[in-house]
């Protein structure tokens, strides 16, 4: 897998596993051992999608808020 921040390349297991973005999604967060950035990773594809900064949520909105308009992230 290739780090989307510093391009460091290693097998996925070398990237420190942090936690899932949401248990029912294949997106997880891992940390690059070289640049230490938090990355959103698609575990199905084994690909780093993007860097995740505070306030960003790779899983989008919370469950169950459909129809409760103002709770939806814009």
């Amino acid at each position: 897998m290739k780090c989307s921040a510093c391009a460091f390349e290693a097998p996925i297991g070398k990237f420190r596993y942090l936690y899932n973005a949401r248990i029912d999604s294949s997106i997880t967060m891992r940390q690059c051992p070289q640049c230490e950035q938090w990355l959103a990773v698609d575990e199905l594809l084994g690909e780093a999608k993007d860097v995740v900064n505070p306030g960003e949520a790779p899983w989008g909105k919370s469950a169950g808020i459909e129809g409760l308009a103002e709770d939806v992230q814009v």
């Binding site: 420190r16 940390q31 051992p33 230490e36």
Partner: protein, 122 residues
């Protein structure tokens, strides 16, 4: 060895450093090659004074001397401390990513949020 005796040696290893006069010097010393910098070392989650367990070596192992003894089978991992000299241990494997930030919560595999470790890294 009876069940009690077997576990007594593990208990004693866990409790032994307590009650010994150590002063500042011993507490501040962090050898260049030590358990806290090894990827086989797993920080104890019950106490965070720097105790941990080896994920390879079992109780009964001895890694300090020039001729270490390695026990690889048993019920409990070897208890060691972050600043225990591991220069003679042939299982030592340097950890690349050591996390010294205690703000996020513990991952005993990566976390070494001890003041002495930070100082050492600077």
């Amino acid at each position: 060895m009876s069940r009690r005796d077997k576990w007594k040696s593990a208990r004693d290893a866990m409790m032994a450093p307590l009650g010994k006069t150590k002063g500042v010097k011993t507490r501040e010393s962090v050898p260049e090659v030590c358990c806290g910098k090894c990827e086989m070392w797993f920080e104890n989650a019950y106490s965070s004074e720097g105790r941990g367990t080896c994920r390879v070596l079992k109780m009964g192992s001895e890694i300090h001397s020039d001729k270490p003894t390695y026990v690889l089978e048993g019920d409990a991992g070897l208890i060691s401390y972050f600043n225990m000299d591991a220069s003679h241990c042939s299982y030592f494997s340097k950890m690349e990513l050591i996390d010294t930030d205690g703000t996020e919560c513990s991952d005993p595999l990566f976390r070494r949020a001890l003041r002495q470790m930070k100082k050492f890294n600077e």
